[in-house]
Amino acid sequence: MTRVVVIGAGPAGLSAAATALGAGAQVTLIEAAEQPGGQYHRAPVAEFGVARREALQHGWRDFAARRDHVLSHPRCRFLPETTVWALEDPGATPARGGPPLVHVLTGQADGADRRRRVIESDALVLAVGAHDTMLPFPGWELPGVVTAGAAQALVKGERVAIGDRVVVAGTGPFLLPVAAALLGAGSTVRQVLEANRPGRIAAGWGARPWQLAGQAGKLPELAEYAATLARHRVPVLLGRTVVEARGDGRVEEVVTARLRADWSVVPGSERTVAVDAACVGHGFTPQLELPVAAGCALRTEPDGRRFVAVDTDLRTSRPGVYAVGELTGIAGAPAARAEGALAGWLAAGGPDRPAVRALRRQVAAGRRFATRLAAAHPIGPAWPDWLRDDTVVCRCEEVCYGALRAAAGQDPRVSKLGTRAGMGPCQGRICGPTVAALRALGAPPPGSDGLDRPDDGARRASPYHRPIAQPIRLGELAASTAPDVAPPQPVPDKENP
């Protein structure tokens, strides 16, 4: 029987598990959180005593049905609170072949007594998703300045409103549900600021509208958010963003400015807005450490953003390894579900049939949607215009823009060691792509500066190359690894025990 391991139980991963089970595989579904859903279906845990979890969710009924089907399936083993800390190349042991070994820790998040295990598979589906991209600006490290995703996650999972008077800023349609969630939590949303100008957005979304067929489900959702914002008389301003946060120990006001098409600041357009929280997101960054650890090739978008390179069947360059959802391009939950469904079926060795061809069409439609989204809401190349020499870029090590500029001519490894950018607790997850982008600005042509090129046969330098994908305690590393022989067991439904 084919053993399929799915990492991530969000819309893409859950869908992959469902079709892999349908094709007869034995499935191990690994999830870092306590329950499936990912960020899209994030909801309070059962302990919270919530009666109507579906009230704030789109597509909750379908999600819950799929979740219950997968978790109760006799061939499914669900591993919640399980973090993948390494993927080990079986190529290192010539007797083996196939996808990498999956090293996991199970137990309370960052706890000291997690159980360590190694899981083998015949096919691996990576569905680990993305997090907010957030460009630095002066004051972005002040408490009360959070990512747009954080504001929404706190409402969805914790029932906490991050502030009473908030500004939501950045780029992309995701800003609308975030603002709506905050309004639903009783906050006053003072402004929603989309950094891109109307011309860019219209050109990105407007051309060849027939390509958006199949994503029509998104339109009522967007209309609903727009109506909510209108009802609360929230100003939505285009071509303007937050360029600075100020406050004594926490954010008290933000400075907004009008932007040109390249995101340089229009002089004299600055305005201050009193807030107690600022929620900012400039699109999403796929969590590439596991695909990179698996040896999957990446592809680069015209604006420099990187994703896992996959074929039309979601196969990566690494045999037996599939990548789905936001890893392959940012296109939202419906596209992620379609990708998961196709990859799960194929990973399990399911035969080609009309339903599979229909899924391929859905996946292709999702890909076109991703292209539109990227075209309508790009990151303007002149964003470093906001930075000052004393602006923190690496939050963990408090490395400022001036220090990074001074180190710009050095070999990347030398400048990393010298400035310590990317060497703090997050290991470059937040600042890595930003530092790479800043280094590329005004840098000598590739080949002369050591950027992203093979280094004496070693892997390419990449902000995503992280041999230890998640922190592991030395005691856990030293402990013996339990053999992974547990038979699959039905798991009770956590929502309705």
Binding site: A32, A109, D110, G149, L154, I162, R250, D276, E398
Partner: protein, 107 residues
């Protein structure tokens, strides 16, 4: 006042809250069972609980376990992401600092 818990009476999710009490640097803080430690701290209107090299405060930033800005020590175990760790009754949370005066701080 900010941040804050959505009042149960106003909550469309129809909540039946049960309290969870943790200590933060020895002081009891009560939140709602099911919240993360970050959720409990935010619901108690605390925005910062970790201090950087220069003494500046940090709290929640990414909210989903990516940024490590919200690290705390829980029951003696250091470097726990407050946004990922579910609060359990009686958890003893201590805040972390990277101020040089505090030795190696949280590293």
């Amino acid at each position: 006042m900010t941040p804050r818990l959505i009042r149960p009476d106003d909550d469309v999710l129809d909540r039946d809250d049960r309290p969870v009490t943790i200590t933060v640097d020895g002081t009891p803080v009560t939140g709602v069972a099911g919240q993360s430690i970050a959720g409990v701290l935010l619901a108690a209107a605390r925005t910062a609980w970790r201090y950087g090299h220069a003494g500046a405060g940090r709290g929640v930033f990414c909210g989903i376990g990516v940024c490590f800005d919200c690290l705390v020590t829980v029951n003696g175990v250091p470097d726990v992401r407050a946004c990922r760790r579910r609060a359990r009754d009686g958890d003893a949370v201590t805040t972390q600092t990277r101020l040089p005066a505090d030795g190696d701080g949280d590293r």
